[in-house]
Symmetry: C2
Subunit: 434 residues, 2 copies
Amino acid sequence: MLIGLHLGNGYGSQPGAWRMPGVDPKSYVNFDVIVKQAQAAERGKLHFLFLPDGPSVSADVETQPPGVNMEVMMTLAAIARETKRIGLVATGSTTFNEPYNLAKQFKALDVMSHGRAGWNAVTSSSEEVAAFYGRNIPSSEDRYGRAHEMVQLMQALWGSWGKDAWVHNQESGEFTKKGQVRPINLQGQFVSSSGPLYIPPSEQGQPVIVHAGGSPNAHELAGRFANVVIGSAFTIADARAQRAAFRAAAARYGRDPDELKFFAGIMPTIAKDKRTALDRRIQLTKEHFPQRVAYLERMLGIPLDSTRLNDPLSPAQLKAARPSRYDPRSSHALTIAQEGWSLRDILAHGVIDYHPVTVGPGTEAADHMQKWFEAGAVDGFWILPDVNVDGIDAFVEEVVPILQARGLFHQEYEGKTLRENLGVPYQYGVDPRV
Amino acid sequence: MLIGLHLGNGYGSQPGAWRMPGVDPKSYVNFDVIVKQAQAAERGKLHFLFLPDGPSVSADVETQPPGVNMEVMMTLAAIARETKRIGLVATGSTTFNEPYNLAKQFKALDVMSHGRAGWNAVTSSSEEVAAFYGRNIPSSEDRYGRAHEMVQLMQALWGSWGKDAWVHNQESGEFTKKGQVRPINLQGQFVSSSGPLYIPPSEQGQPVIVHAGGSPNAHELAGRFANVVIGSAFTIADARAQRAAFRAAAARYGRDPDELKFFAGIMPTIAKDKRTALDRRIQLTKEHFPQRVAYLERMLGIPLDSTRLNDPLSPAQLKAARPSRYDPRSSHALTIAQEGWSLRDILAHGVIDYHPVTVGPGTEAADHMQKWFEAGAVDGFWILPDVNVDGIDAFVEEVVPILQARGLFHQEYEGKTLRENLGVPYQYGVDPRV
């Protein structure tokens, strides 16, 4: 089982994370804090850190931190120097970056981290982000057209030095082998570059390609180029179907489907017992309860009273409840309601969140992960801690040892590079198979 | 007197630097080496590191390292974490960057370094660089038009949070003050952005604007926006005239000329005596002697024999020599020749190099710097060591103490931010005066 960690904005994935006791309210800009979180994840032998970027950066900045890290590449450059083994994955928009600049930065990260970089190549689809760049969002066709060209162009730039070109022989004065640093001269419909890029191979050749998304376009892009998919699924059946779709796409491009690893998200709240964990999530999310009660009404198709958070649903309510077909989380919400929890505790179970939530001691998260993994739904998980400052430590100390004891998770990093640790092939330059 | 250090490609400014004893031939990608050089400069209380980027990256990569650092922003992010006081200046092309991305990176560097960042805002003018971006070089008018807009737009983005907007009050739940994180909605002819940028002020407000160049366009751009000019001059008279032109431009924009600091380059080779220093430069540059003899012929207007490097110029040659009016270095070359040095040693004096060269013990560099400084030719210097690995240490140990003893150079950093150390005003957002 592979595991990545969502580092995010430095506070945690829950809206109240930045206000929790022990959290530095300046974590967003405090690199001591951020690096410490990265080191904690590495202590747990997690495969990589994941720093998304791009859409939904603003949220409501008057009451909430931005949803993503301030500057993902600069942050990973700092982390690269202060960690040894953990992979470093960041999002770089294929829509709003100069390919030469982005190629240079990810390759530099790969070199400075000794082969631990991954590029989450995703298109930008939000008009808010487009406006940062003084533009409008291109059509989906153009966005994915550019994305395919960006990956090809960047991989070509990454391979623009012959694999053994850099001899740096002080005796003979030969810095690179004659004729082996070459222009790439790629001219696409959306992007082009002469190259070369003046960076030699890293220990893993070049960064791992990552993709996040679930649409048919995502299947094509990831199936063609990616080794990692950062996915999102609420049920085993959904995850299994998504994983199969990505694997089928990889096969269509002549690749071994096992080279493409599908990750689902999980949001664990870890505490000594379920009650303590639920109370922690109440503290983290209670300001959102009024609108979540309203949303839960639609998920279950019944009226609910947001002034009676202490009460469980009545037998009549439970009988009338029907999970909405429009929200894949609805069945789980009903299951929790049927267990007799109060309305407050139903919400505290995280029945309305961006990924499946587990609440309780480490076994809760471990059991969830084992079940999904053994069902063939995923190759691994990306963990979104509720609060980074203690949630990462809790995962490392309470969940990782269980997974290791069950033989599901490695005891030590397999190798030194991200590719070795993920079990995906070395690659340098454009993959000759695609 | 202000002093910056050219960090460059990690080897040094001389073509043979990468082959010198004690030099790691992989310095170009070895961040342990690069960080150590930065720390050495900080030990000498140097005001800033300077990492140029852009043109002339390729040189002849079969025998020479690229002329610039692999990735200047990622490198400075790493250095920011491992130094405390030294300023961090890098070039960011105003021609081939998305302004939102560049604004984000320099502001992040400023925040993570606690107010030590500087942006060298220069246009790209090389067709080779343009081809990396799949473009042609725009006209000078368009390049400088875009440059002015880039600086304004980036400064507006840097100021898009109210100066005291970030309250991050955990008790009240107020993350930023209501209405104080605002779009900028700037629409120029070349660049535009809605903003805002999701980064609060740094300790110095925002990065220092630096410019490099000497044309009338450079005077305008720097006079309007910059606090530092990275200049190039071979004589005191030339430096003084350049400095005056920049100061006059600042005054035209309603600024105090003292806010704009003019730096000239100096390339010191430091050794226990002149002979040892000359021999060091011979080792570093001898492969270039044949073409330099040919060039020296044109500088002095006389034929020279490249097979007789051991001989000084004959009385007849010296009598016939006339310094070329087309190369400002020619008079100095003739002066050295008249001192009776061999042809080899004339070249070893660095009479043909990118900046004035000093050769000898620390007093040589210190005397040069004092003379220029006291003549009002410069506010400071940027140092281009011949070989970084020992050249930085030599400058710090042999030249800095002399300058300090003469009362020319500070004993300690004046403050914590680059602006404090340079003696230039705090700025946040767009300067209201320009």
